[in-house]
């Protein structure tokens, strides 16, 4: 027991090492939040373009671009994309690493979000769409007022899944020397050589974060379901 307390002291209290974890958590949340925004915007844009192409046959070039984007992004590991953006695309530019990470994770998440949203749009009964058009709505209006609200409600659980994945995927930002939560744990391990405690701490913090996230999503789902009564 004493050994455990001693270990705890060495890993977290001594030299204020807990501050490393705290600032690491800050970085992780910062990247996740902005990447989430970018991913959702990109994902919805791509999904709308692709479903419009499927429904109307227009937007050929844009549709092909979007397909290329999802193929490339989903076909390569996020850590490779991150390193490519940092060491490749911005090779000779000294750019903020947070920006690099947000770009990489946002681009990555966008591809997955687009497929989730597209599945939601395509799942809405064609009759809903036809009804909107026969009431005199334009394509965009039908999308906005009739299809999207229903689609969004249906894809919310899958989107939540994607957000949780995104939060945990940011753990590879250490590859470009960012001090996110996982890297903070690594730094502590390299100082104290304890194989166990820093990792457990990092795991518990992720778990708590995901727990909070899940609760928020559940709340949102409940509110959206109000309209069904």
């Amino acid at each position: 027991m004493n050994g455990l307390i001693d270990e705890f002291y060495r890993n977290f209290i001594n030299e204020s090492r807990w501050k490393l974890l705290l600032s690491g958590l800050g970085v992780t949340l910062e990247i996740t939040a902005f990447a989430l925004l970018l991913g959702v915007v990109l994902g919805f844009f791509v999904a709308i373009v692709r479903s419009a192409h499927d429904k109307t046959g227009k937007l050929g070039i844009l549709n092909r671009l979007c397909t290329l984007y999802t193929t490339v992004i989903r076909g390569t590991p996020v850590v490779v994309q991150l390193m490519l953006i940092y060491y490749g695309v911005f090779a000779s530019v000294n750019i903020s690493k947070v920006l690099v990470a947000v770009l990489a994770f946002g681009l990555n998440s966008g591809a997955y979000v687009s497929e989730i949203v597209r599945s939601g749009i395509m799942a809405i009964d064609e009759g809903q769409f036809e009804a909107g058009r026969s009431l005199g709505f334009s394509y965009a209006q039908t999308m906005w007022y009739i299809v999207m609200p229903q689609a969004f409600k249906n894809v919310l659980p899958a989107l939540g899944n994607e957000f949780i994945t995104l939060l945990k995927e940011t753990s590879v930002s250490g590859y470009i020397a960012m001090e996110d939560l996982t890297k903070a744990g690594d730094i502590i391990r390299s100082r104290t050589f304890s194989p166990f405690m820093p990792l457990i701490a990092v795991a518990v913090i992720y778990l708590i974060m995901v727990g909070i996230f899940t609760r928020l999503l559940a709340l949102m789902e409940r509110r959206l379901r109000n309209s069904e009564r």
């Binding site: 937007l59 070039i61 844009l62 671009l65 060491y87 695309v89 911005f90 090779a91 000779s92 530019v93 000294n94 250490g174 590859y175 020397a177 001090e179 890297k183 690594d186 730094i187 391990r189 390299s190 100082r191 050589f193």
Partner: protein
């Protein structure tokens, strides 16, 4: 139609951007000429190396920004791309990096020196004999030969030290505590024998002062307690002399000087 135009515009924008990114303009040399210059600069290290530990705790450099990479290679890449001002790293890998990368150089003033020495229990009389033997081995070139066998440009491990056939082991055995996971100083060869600079040097010292040396492998942080409790006669494991350790053990004269050096863009 409008969307087609937009797509074309977007595409050309992306292409222009990637051209701008690829057309690497010349990156200015680092404004680092001495250790003091590191203050306020961004310095890359490999996580957990002595370079990382030293620079993170360096009180003379309060404003240094440390970026910790997973490998030394990535830190050096970031330095080349102008994302860092300097990289602090062990002398041996640093030599290899500047051989492979144009435009990088090592500052003449090293960042820190690490003296490796043998540790004994406080007041152990054998320390004086070991120091004398060490001085002889330095003078007759044996130490240099042992080092050259393990540290050389080809990265090969040469012949290890062979005890002379008439070696005098009349005084008995000495137990050496080490941690055989630290090449080239001590590590296990394919058949499990402990070899390396420290292993060879300890046998050479034993031959000089009339002892046979047996090596005991243990965890690095157990070496000092093994020595202080008398379970081992001396400890030798690429151990850096520090004030903290001096409070619990005596150290011999240093037998090798490791260096942390600073790589910059030149």
């Amino acid at each position: 139609m409008k969307l087609k135009n937009m797509a074309a515009l977007l595409l050309s924008g992306v292409m222009a951007l990637s051209f701008a990114a690829c057309g690497s303009s010349k990156i200015a040399p680092s404004d680092v000429h001495s250790v003091e210059d590191l203050d306020g600069k961004t310095v890359g290290v490999q996580t957990g190396t002595t370079g990382d530990l030293y620079i993170s705790d360096d009180e003379t450099l309060p404003n240094v920004k440390v970026e910790r990479f997973s490998t030394g290679f990535e830190a050096v890449t970031a330095l080349k791309q102008g994302k860092l001002d300097a990289v602090v790293i062990d002398d041996q890998p640093a030599q290899a990096f500047i051989r492979e990368n144009e435009g990088l150089s090592i500052l003449e003033t090293e960042y820190v020196q690490e003296d490796y020495a043998i540790c004994f229990a406080k007041g152990n009389a054998i320390a004086a004999d070991v120091n004398a033997a060490l001085a002889e081995l330095k003078a007759d070139g044996t130490l240099d030969r042992i080092v050259a066998a393990y540290i050389n440009d080809e990265g090969k491990t040469g012949e290890s030290y062979v005890s002379p056939a008439d070696a005098d082991h009349s005084k008995g055995k000495l137990i050496m505590a080490t941690n055989a996971e630290f090449p080239p100083y001590e590590y296990k060869d394919d058949s499990g024998n402990i070899i390396g600079i420290d292993a060879d040097l300890s046998r050479a010292i034993g031959d000089k002062i009339g002892y046979e040396v047996t090596i005991e492998d243990m965890k690095f942080d157990a070496i000092i307690s093994a020595v202080t409790t008398g379970k081992a006669d001396f400890g030798m494991a690429g151990m850096t002399v520090t004030e903290e350790r001096k409070q619990s053990v005596d150290f011999s004269d240093s037998y090798y000087t490791g260096k942390q050096v600073i790589i910059v863009r030149s």
